[in-house]
């Protein structure tokens, strides 16, 4: 298993959610490829020292989101289409969630929609310079 998952148990983010996001990220970055097998629930639970039910919950969410599929008795695998179609959705989820807090705080500190648009545009210009 080439993917190294870590959990920050002291974080306020639920552990199953940390696992889900890391597997999605690994899939998006091609570290986990279509057809690749994930560790068993028990193995990942022991590797991370988290209880098996939490890992099972993360795998259920990943299956629901179309990232992995589980064959009874064989294990869990990255879906053939999972590595492409669901990845953009997953990345969008993470980006949206990350933006939510700062936007709320900026708004509540008095910035207008236009002010925020200008900030986001400036950030986009920095990261997508070729598309300016």
């Amino acid at each position: 298993m080439p993917v190294v998952l870590t959990v920050d148990s002291r974080s306020g983010v639920p552990i199953y959610q940390q696992i889900v996001e890391q597997v999605k990220r690994s899939t998006a970055l091609g570290v986990l490829q279509a057809g690749e097998q994930l560790p068993t629930v028990k193995q990942l639970a022991v590797d991370l020292t988290v209880n098996p039910n939490t890992v099972a919950r993360a795998y259920r969410d990943l299956e629901r989101d179309g990232v992995i599929e589980t064959a009874p008795g064989r294990g869990s695998f990255v879906r053939g289409d999972g590595a492409t179609s669901s990845v953009k959705a997953a990345a969008s989820d993470v980006a949206r969630r990350s933006l939510e807090g700062p936007v709320r705080e900026a708004k509540s500190m008095g910035l207008s929609r236009e002010d925020l648009h200008a900030i986001v545009s400036a950030v986009l210009d920095r990261w997508f310079p070729e598309e300016r």
């Binding site: 959990v7 959610q17 629930v41 209880n51 509540s108």
Partner: protein, 300 residues
């Protein structure tokens, strides 16, 4: 093994050590019991095991009350070691082998070796942590369906603490139920799926660690002056408590943080932030609202 504790009470004279405790522990769960010293954790374990007579209530195992036929399937590691001082480590293993038919002596020896303990040593020559390790190693070799572990990592170094947590995960993965207490909230946060917090013998909080973290947040807002109204928000059942400090208000939200944030904004609040809570924060709010409040005010 599924455990149902129902209205459990234990009184010592006028003192209620356990006061109307009801908790269900599903099969295969790692369940952490938290609480300040004297909250009733050990007394609960003793009542569950028949080592102390409950003053009221019931405890059932897969629906049946405790019976001698269950003793092989339940293992208890008390906080204070009860191992014979004059025995060698290997003799403790042998005693367990003779006492319990499902006991795997080879497994116990292997675990004791991984803790780095020489089996020829006498128990009295071992440190507190090493004695804990011996008791825990023997417990994990019992192939029990229920493990009740009272502070199973006390006195151990961080490497061996992690080792014990991993063994608990292993036990749960093969379907055993693990109930443990610990003062080290970080360990509970990592390994436990569900927790219960006891305070003065009463259940202060119970639930899935991940769900508690997903739901419980602090929402902070700043108001233009000190005379502001929260528009009846204080009566909202989703709000655990409200701390006011001048123009700043901090609301402990049990659920629905985003909605509460919007409502604080609607009431005229600015700089509204939603703050994640870790298990230690959640624990402190559950057992000592007053001192948790003091921390918050100082933090401002």
């Amino acid at each position: 093994m599924n455990i149902t504790i129902s209205h459990l009470r234990k009184r010592y004279g006028a003192f209620a050590a356990v006061d109307d405790l009801s908790v269900t522990i599903p099969t295969g769960t790692i369940f952490g019991l938290l609480g300040p010293n004297g909250a009733g954790k050990t007394t609960t374990f003793k009542c569950m095991l028949g080592l102390a007579a409950a003053s009221g209530g019931t405890v059932t195992y897969d629906g049946s009350p405790l019976a001698p036929s269950l003793f092989e399937r339940i293992v208890y590691v008390p906080e204070r070691d009860v191992l014979y001082d004059w025995m060698r480590v290997s003799e403790v293993v042998e005693m367990n082998r003779r006492g319990f038919s499902r006991f795997k002596a080879e497994r116990a020896k292997e675990l004791i070796a991984t803790f780095g303990i020489d089996s020829r040593k006498r128990m009295r020559s071992l440190s507190k942590g090493m004695k804990t390790a011996i008791a825990v190693a023997n417990a994990f070799a019992r192939e029990a369906d229920l493990l009740i572990l009272d502070e199973p990592t006390s006195g151990l170094d961080p490497v061996n603490q992690r080792h014990v947590l991993n063994l608990m995960v292993n036990e749960a993965a093969r379907g055993a139920t693990v109930l443990f207490s610990s003062h080290q909230i970080g360990q509970v946060e990592r390994a436990a799926e569900r927790i219960a917090v006891l305070d003065h013998g009463r259940l202060a909080l119970e639930g899935s660690v991940d769900d508690l973290k997903a739901d419980r947040k602090i929402v902070e807002a700043i108001f233009p002056n000190e005379t502001y109204s929260l528009n009846g928000l204080t009566g909202d059942p989703r709000i655990g408590r409200v701390d006011r400090s001048g123009r700043i208000v901090r609301v402990v939200v049990l659920d629905g943080a985003t909605d509460i944030a919007h409502r604080l904004e609607a009431a005229g609040g600015t700089g509204v932030r939603v703050i994640d809570l870790n298990l230690e924060d959640i624990f402190l709010y559950a057992v000592s609202p007053a001192s948790a409040n003091a921390d918050v005010v100082e933090g401002l």
